[in-house]
Symmetry: C2
Subunit: 381 residues, 2 copies
């Protein structure tokens, strides 16, 4: 259709067009009809096999007659955030915004698909994966479960994410653990209220909750490895607490909300054990019910060390590349791909310092060209 119009654009113009068209139409979670339609409209003009997966996912397979396939992944979904930026490509969907850069990720992958379309001789076949529901239910897992990686004999996966805390256009990654598993935790203490002057008739859920925090942190500190590496570091943090109804009635109920991070399944299991042991111990001590729940979250993002090392010389030579000294503490469902095949994930710097998920998130689209260049480079390794 509009291939004739698009082709004369240079990379920056093309990537900017894709990003802005997607930025205008942010959609949430699994249901992304406009986003999918835009992506398909671009892919339809290319010589590739289009595979629709799940409700809104789209894959493009470029068969170059090779045994193995490299997969590239972009996430598609936006956030329930009201954009404050004023510009002609601002969100047209009230209360929804691409505030986490998934518009950029999809734009780079669309531009890359357009590039691959022009390269008939390549060392691998290419599978471009446009994935829904990164922010919500972990669409990556659903993609994996379709068996598409097996079907196309995918041997490695790459992906990228904008990152506000490195220079604009810079690429960064590291070997091994890059992001922890992130889990939401909720503790509830069911005590019994009584008048403040008759504490013997109550079970003080506020005091027990404060004991819970102390004992949880003490046990966490006691269980830490001596001199842990950044990848051995774990976090267990209670951030919000509510307890009690009045200043003169002993609290009968407390809630504690928090978060946990760990870079290995073993460490994560250890944190869960702390949560549950502390609840169990205080439950027995005070004769009340205490529940400690946690979400499974996404697995840690772990870059395959062998694959990473094999790429490193080319990354350093061909790109403005820096190796991350320590992992980032965000989480990503990209980790599910790494459980299937060797994978590496990359950060692409915005240089703005504007945090992901901010209602004023934005960036200079010139950086998208660096993302595209990296994808091209990875194609030849």
């Amino acid at each position: 259709m509009n291939r004739k119009e698009v082709e004369p654009l240079n990379d920056l113009q093309r990537l900017t067009l894709h990003r802005r068209e997607l930025h205008k139409i942010p959609e949430l979670s699994k249901t992304l009809p406009k986003t999918k339609a835009y992506i398909k409209s671009v892919l339809d003009a290319l010589d590739c096999q289009i595979i629709e997966v799940l409700e809104s996912g789209v894959c493009a397979y470029f068969d170059r007659g090779k045994e193995t396939t490299i997969a590239y992944r972009a996430d598609m979904d936006a956030l329930p955030v009201t954009e404050v930026n004023v510009c002609d490509y601002a969100s047209t969907h009230q209360g929804r915004m691409h505030a986490c850069g998934h518009d950029a990720h999809s734009a780079v992958l669309l531009g890359f698909a357009q590039y691959v379309d022009t390269q008939k001789e390549l060392p691998h076949n290419v599978l471009c994966v446009f994935q829904p529901a990164e922010e919500t239910t972990g669409g990556a897992k659903d993609i994996c479960e379709t068996g598409i990686f097996q079907k196309y004999n995918v041997s490695r996966v790459f992906g990228l994410h904008l990152w506000p805390f490195i220079d604009a256009g810079k690429i960064a990654s590291k070997s091994g653990p890059m992001m922890p598993r992130s889990s939401e935790i909720t503790i509830e203490v069911f005590g019994r209220s009584s008048h403040a002057t008759a504490p013997e008739k109550g079970i003080d859920a506020l005091f027990i909750a404060s004991q819970y925090i102390q004992q949880l942190y003490d046990a966490h500190r006691a269980g830490m490895r001596p001199n842990p590496t950044p990848e051995e570091r774990t976090i267990i943090q209670i951030c919000k607490m509510e307890s009690g109804t009045a200043r003169n009635v002993i609290s009968g109920y407390s809630t504690l909300l928090g978060t946990m991070r760990a870079f290995s399944d073993e460490d994560f299991a250890g944190l869960v054990q702390l949560l549950e042991d502390t609840a169990q111990r205080l439950s027995v001590e005070y004769g009340c019910r205490i529940t400690a729940e946690h979400s499974e979250g996404y697995p840690p993002v772990v870059n395959d060390p062998a694959l990473y090392q094999s790429l490193l010389p080319a990354l350093r030579q061909g790109l403005d590349y820096e190796e991350m000294p320590i992992p980032a503490m965000i989480s990503e469902d990209y980790s599910f791909y790494g459980l299937e095949v060797p994978s590496v994930f990359f950060f692409l710097g915005t240089g703005t310092g504007i945090a992901l998920h901010s209602n004023n998130f934005d960036f200079d689209e010139k950086i998208l060209v660096q993302g595209l260049e990296m994808y091209k480079l990875l194609l030849r390794q």
Copy 2:
């Protein structure tokens, strides 16, 4: 005016009439125009000197030509409670209710004034004090500051309060401390929020607040007398806590609300010291501001031991009387009168178990006759 109509009523009918008329028109705090008008309408028919004090207070002085005067006090104000009782004398003021029995206290004192009016030969003059703002700002203190006790040479004061936890019509009191000082406490911790994965950039107001509770209680326990009497018991209790805004952002602010009780000024000062020392210690340890505020509350209600002992034989002989084994843990601004002259305060049982301030508070008006009989008995001692 309606003296001719009222006189034929017996005590129960008269007390019930007063109580129900007052129950229909609950008013709050210092501004009690309808309540004052009703009380004055009854007193106007009597041979006494009416003294209006403060905005809504009323006193009736019966001069019997004696050197000293006995004062009797009733509180007049109601509560911001919506009555759920359905009866023909239910509150006609939406959202306001005599849920603490002040209608009963005023009814007994009105009935007593009517009785005194018939007794021209008495061992003392009599001053009936109808006092506003017991529930709010401590109207008793304002009454004392008018100098009315000095003006009429008041030598002793009596008062009563309904009490749901003894048998209907039973009278109870004790020598010495009967109710503690009650103080509201508010602790604020001003930390600094940061992302949950960067705790080193924040000052965790939730953790510090939980430390505050632990250290406060530990210090309170450590400072307790061995085997304290009920009157040596003190209470310091945090009942409500809020901290944090999100599960993944370290809390920058906590509030703790609670209450303290003590039966002596020395013990109360000790509790205040604990509050402030704990704040100071943690403030230094964590480098953050912590404020610990408390209300002065009402002083403890302390019955004059000599006066009480002098009354005890008559109370036991003439009434269904029981001595309280331990103090009650409520508070009352009646305590201010005891700082002026020897005083004793009494409980009058409702026998219902329905707590003061409940929206279904009620009682059998027959008990009011027992209150009146006690006031008559005290008049002759």
